[in-house]
């Protein structure tokens, strides 16, 4: 089990930005877009076979050519203002059938990621994911900010369109971040890194849909752009958002009037109230999501 680094770039106290797939793929889309736009170079990878079951076997004329595993790659970029390290994982390591990381494997992987960060003199770690929120899909998603220390919270909170978990109505001062986003954040704090998690808002009624939510990725990316002082072209995310918006509208139109009416009220409120959708409504949405999605797909030319 280990890390294979193919290069030894000379980086000046880089920030690490790590991401994995999750709800709406909000974090991974934001980070991959950023990585692509700064044209980051591949640095190496964590050997996957210790963490994952292979996803593909390739056999040619009876000979096992290779197995294809989910990748876990490091990238780097030397920039004028701040050098960057990226870590992108194709899957979260789990034990058993769960989707989000937990247990010894996740802990081992998080430590390996931080080992590489440490090796290059990194002092700040960013993770990014989704914040399931009582918002409306036509509202601009805000970015929830969680950090490892107060001064860092003040620094990040100073940027537009950010919100703290404790500022959300109905949320107490306590909350949780599941999977590797949370684990890496905690472990980074334990190991003395500055740690920041940026979570783009996704409406609760869309948190189980099988497609991305690029609108929230854009909010996260905008924040990364401001923090890191990087100019970013948002047009690829805008295009993706337009396509996804049409799918969402297709689903939304088919929701029962009573649920739609409650969700619509969220648009009128500056601070969304969680009481608007009842548990019963949520149950209905979960039970009918596949059906709504299928019907919408059938109607939608884009899908």
């Amino acid at each position: 089990m280990g890390v294979i680094l193919t290069k030894k770039p000379n980086l000046e106290k880089p920030d690490l930005i790590a991401c994995w797939p999750g709800i709406g793929n909000i974090g991974i889309i934001a980070v991959n877009t950023l990585r692509g736009q700064v044209d980051a170079n591949e640095l190496g990878e964590i050997e996957s076979w210790d963490f994952f079951y292979p996803k593909k076997a390739i056999v040619t004329s009876g000979v096992l050519e290779d197995l294809d595993f989910p990748f876990n790659k490091f990238y780097y970029k030397v920039l004028q203002k701040k050098d960057l390290l990226f870590f992108v994982g194709e899957e979260q390591p789990t034990e058993g059938e769960r989707v989000y990381a937990e247990g010894r494997k996740a802990y081992r992987m998080a430590n390996l990621v931080l080992d590489v960060a440490e090796q290059f003199g990194c002092r700040r770690v960013y993770t990014s994911g989704a914040a399931v929120s009582f918002t409306h899909h036509e509202l601009e998603p805000r970015v929830w900010v969680v950090t490892s220390k107060e001064s860092l919270t003040r620094e990040i909170k100073a940027f537009d369109n950010t919100i703290l978990m404790s500022d959300i109505e109905g949320k107490s001062e306590r909350g949780s971040i599941t999977g590797l986003n949370g684990l890496l954040l905690g472990l980074a704090k334990k190991r003395g890194f500055d740690a920041v998690c940026l979570m783009g808002e996704i409406p609760d009624y869309l948190s189980g849909v099988p497609f991305p939510y690029p609108k929230a990725s854009k909010s996260v990316l905008e924040l990364f752009g401001k923090i890191l002082g990087i100019d970013i072209d948002y047009s690829p995310l805008d295009q993706m958002s337009n396509q996804v918006d049409e799918i969402i509208e297709g689903i939304y139109e088919k929701l029962p009037f009573e649920i739609k009416e409650k969700i619509e009220q969220r648009r009128m409120l500056s601070i969304p109230k969680k009481e608007i959708i009842t548990e019963e409504d949520e149950k209905w949405l979960k039970e009918h999501l596949d059906e709504l999605f299928k019907r919408s797909k059938g109607d939608d030319k884009l899908s």
Binding site: Y53, A57, I58, V59, G62, V63, L64, G96
Partner: protein
């Protein structure tokens, strides 16, 4: 992790071959072949892997009113330089599990060659002769077995949404350690997947018999094959729609999902209800 192996006694091998059979595959092939080898070669258990690190132990499974518990045991057959590993497929930590198996095989038994047994669910009817398909770790391993009746021409890539077979992962893991290996696959008709399939068992045992110059008397399998054919013919005679389904399969006509399910149910119920 360090306590996960129980050492019972220490066999001595100058070199050996490892045969791997997993429980729960179609036609119960891995388990049945491993059991036959163990019973007929006086195989003696010498190592057992503790299940705690590799299996979900939140309770036990019950099958046919019998408690099932994960088991991963090594058996030595020194007179034929064979090591048999019979195991429940692990639930997680696959690569670590394979390395435990390979550590024992390589360091305790001087294993040089590995043979895994696997079945694949086939849409062919039971009247089609069974054929061994081989996936080899290297071209050299393939050449080494050219004189055997193994179809070594298969090419494929796992389709999206499906997972590679456990044996493929095991073969890949053993190749990382420069061990030579082959996965031996036998397609088993889908309606026999939860029943013993003596034809599949026999063809694999014939391969091992020849490969290791053992001299098995496999006539008991012929009797089992006759019995299986007879029982399926009885089902065909009693239920015309089952006969129609089997006839269409024999003519390479695909059945509907409902027909497939009915075929499985009727044949399983009939054969299981008539054990002798």
């Amino acid at each position: 992790m360090t306590n996960s192996l129980k050492y019972q006694w220490k066999p001595e091998f100058a070199y050996s071959s490892l045969v791997v059979g997993w429980s729960g595959d179609a036609g119960n092939l891995g388990d049945a072949v491993a059991n036959y080898l163990i019973n007929n070669l006086s195989g003696r258990a010498f190592y057992e892997i503790d299940p705690a690190d590799y299996f979900q132990l939140g309770g036990v499974t019950i099958e046919n009113d019998m408690v099932q518990f994960p088991e991963s045991k090594f058996y030595a057959c020194p007179q034929h330089n064979l090591v048999i590993f019979k195991s429940t497929p692990p639930s997680y930590e696959y690569y670590q599990f394979f390395n435990h198996v390979l550590d024992i095989a390589e360091h305790r038994c001087n294993v040089k060659h590995i043979y895994t047994i696997g079945s694949m669910v086939s849409l062919n009817p039971h009247t089609v002769p069974r054929q061994i398909l081989g996936t080899f770790s290297t071209v050299e391993a393939k050449i080494d077995l050219t004189s055997y009746d193994i179809d070594s021409s298969i090419s494929y890539e796992t389709t999206p949404g499906q997972k590679p077979a456990l044996n493929s992962f095991f073969l890949w893991s053993s190749r990382k350690r420069n061990l030579v290996g082959v996965d031996l696959w036998v397609p088993v008709p889908f309606y026999l997947m939860s029943l013993p399939d003596p034809k599949s068992q026999k063809i694999i045992l014939e391969f091992f018999d020849r490969r290791f110059q053992i001299g098995f008397d496999l006539r008991e399998f012929d009797e089992e094959i006759i019995k299986q054919n007879r029982m399926i013919n009885e089902v065909r005679n009693i239920y015309p729609d089952i006969d129609d389904c089997l006839e269409r399969l024999e003519n390479n006509i695909t059945l509907s999902e409902d027909e497939n399910m009915k075929l499985i149910k009727m044949i399983e119920e009939y054969i299981k209800g008539k054990p002798d």
